[in-house]
């Protein structure tokens, strides 16, 4: 498995192409790993090569994010059971949280991701992101079982950290930046946070027929903490309580437009239009 599928590349390239006036439409042959012999690598040709569009990162470096993205994609893979950690944007949850409540784990990610990649290169002969899915799994099992070398302490400790945060990013409340579009909750058939459950709801729940409400806990006023209200007062309220959640809480302008609730917003965040959440570990674990 490669980190970015050709379909993804096509989609991303198509977006870039659409945004660049005069750019020629991307052809499938542009994506061949070995260019056709007639293809000359002129400056113009290089300029037309698909450029990977990357969202702004809050904490991790681009290289670290590539590795983390590939790791979470194997920890909770996208498969016949449905979407996985990639669709839930678990890596972006981690990137965001490492600048806040999980800041104490930042050094572990710096050394751990580097060690994981070094181990992949030394044992499997390629960067982790370049390995097949089976080899990536094999590397991760070595990391999980403590068999991998080059880590500060046991690799198992870093794996446990990664898995824990991936769970948070996949199944936590979307308010914190992961579980985009509630894919994590849908995956486990969690019907959503409810402040009131009727007898009918209860009956439906027991029959596993209760439809998910796709609402964050913070879409309900009673869960909005008092410290958040002051910050929120200066921000626009979203018109629809679940509009932002459905947008996936990405690090994007759409968040600001959606008027997501904010807590402890820093100046730089405000300028960037990024929601900064002072999320605690226990908050995330509880999915609250």
């Amino acid at each position: 498995m490669t980190f970015i599928s050709r379909r993804d590349l096509l989609k991303r390239a198509a977006v870039v192409g659409a945004a660049v006036p005069g750019a020629r439409r991307l052809q499938p042959s542009d994506l061949l790993e070995t260019p056709p012999q007639s293809y000359e690598r002129s400056a113009a040709a290089i300029a037309l090569q698909p450029t990977r569009v990357r969202e702004p990162l809050e904490t991790l470096t681009a290289g670290e994010m590539d590795i983390l993205d590939a790791v979470v994609a194997r920890l909770i893979p996208t498969d016949a059971n449905g979407p996985g950690a990639t669709e839930a944007r678990a890596a972006h949850y981690i990137d965001r949280a490492l600048g806040g409540a999980l800041a104490s784990s930042r050094p572990a990610y710096t050394s751990g991701l580097a060690a994981l990649d070094r181990y992949a290169r030394s044992s499997r002969g390629a960067a982790f992101t370049q390995l097949s899915a089976i080899d990536q799994d094999s590397v991760l099992i070595d990391v999980e079982t403590g068999a991998a070398t080059g880590f500060t302490g046991s690799s198992a400790a870093f794996f446990a950290l990664l898995l824990n945060h991936t769970h948070q990013g996949t199944f936590g409340d979307p308010y914190y930046g992961g579980n985009a579009n509630f894919v994590g909750w849908d995956l486990i058939s969690y019907p959503g946070v409810r402040t009131m459950v009727t007898a009918t709801d209860q009956q439906q729940l027991e029959k596993h027929a209760l439809k998910p409400n796709h609402k964050s806990a913070y879409d309900t006023d009673m869960f909005t903490k008092a410290t958040a209200r002051a910050n929120e007062s200066s921000l626009p309220r979203r018109s629809s309580p679940d509009a932002g959640a459905k947008a996936g809480r990405s690090v994007s302008d759409s968040d600001a437009k959606a008027g997501l609730p904010r807590r402890s917003v820093s100046d730089s965040d405000a300028k960037a239009g990024l929601p900064r959440r002072s999320v605690s570990d226990s908050d995330a674990k509880a999915g609250a």
């Binding site: 044992s123 089976i134 799994d137 094999s138 099992i141 070595d142 079982t145």
Partner: protein
């Protein structure tokens, strides 16, 4: 007749019975592993960590099932540390190929149809090669068992459970020992 000849006959019969019960020796070899030599990196956690190819000869004709265990008596608490468990191997199998399927949904090769990978010390039903703490040579025993019955063994057995389940059914046994050491 004195008692002594009778005693000799009894001892002789017991000896013959014991000899009949002693497992026949199976010769275990590998195209890539050499006895008492370091295991190639590809079969360890420092390499691709795929299972090595094994071959065996001398399996008793009466064998109905085979099993393979890879264990390291130089590690584990208590020893040995178990790296691999495979059982319900057809008696017609002459060995195991390199890189036995890693994913549970990938079927075993036809010649190993029905074989099951048990749970290792890594708590996984797959091969995981040597990954010893540095500073000491470890010995890895690839043990092959021939069983006198096609036992209905459930999935998910570990080495201890497997050995308990096959107790009294082992009619052939052999092993190949190779080594591995990680440098500090």
């Amino acid at each position: 007749m004195s008692r002594w000849p009778l005693a000799f006959i009894c001892v002789g019969l017991l000896g013959a019975r014991a000899a009949a019960q002693a497992p026949q020796t199976i010769t275990v070899e590998s195209p890539t592993l050499k006895a008492d030599q370091p295991i190639p990196r590809d079969y360890t956690a420092d390499g691709r960590n795929v299972s090595p190819p094994l071959t065996w000869t001398g399996v008793p004709a009466a064998a109905k099932q085979l099993a393979v265990v890879l264990q390291d008596p130089d590690a584990g608490n208590p020893p040995p540390f178990v790296h691999w468990v495979v059982y319900k191997i057809p008696p017609t199998a002459k060995g195991l190929p390199e890189n036995v399927p890693f994913e549970p949904d990938v079927p075993m090769p036809a010649e190993l149809a029905g074989a099951i990978q048990g749970v290792s010390g890594f708590r996984r039903p797959i091969y995981r090669g040597p990954a010893p703490p540095p500073g000491k040579v470890h010995h890895y025993h690839f043990v092959v068992y021939a069983l006198d019955a096609a036992l209905d063994l459930k999935a998910g057995l570990n080495r201890v459970e497997l050995l308990e389940a096959i107790k009294g059914h082992v009619i052939g046994q052999g092993e190949l020992v190779a080594t591995y050491e990680r440098k500090p």
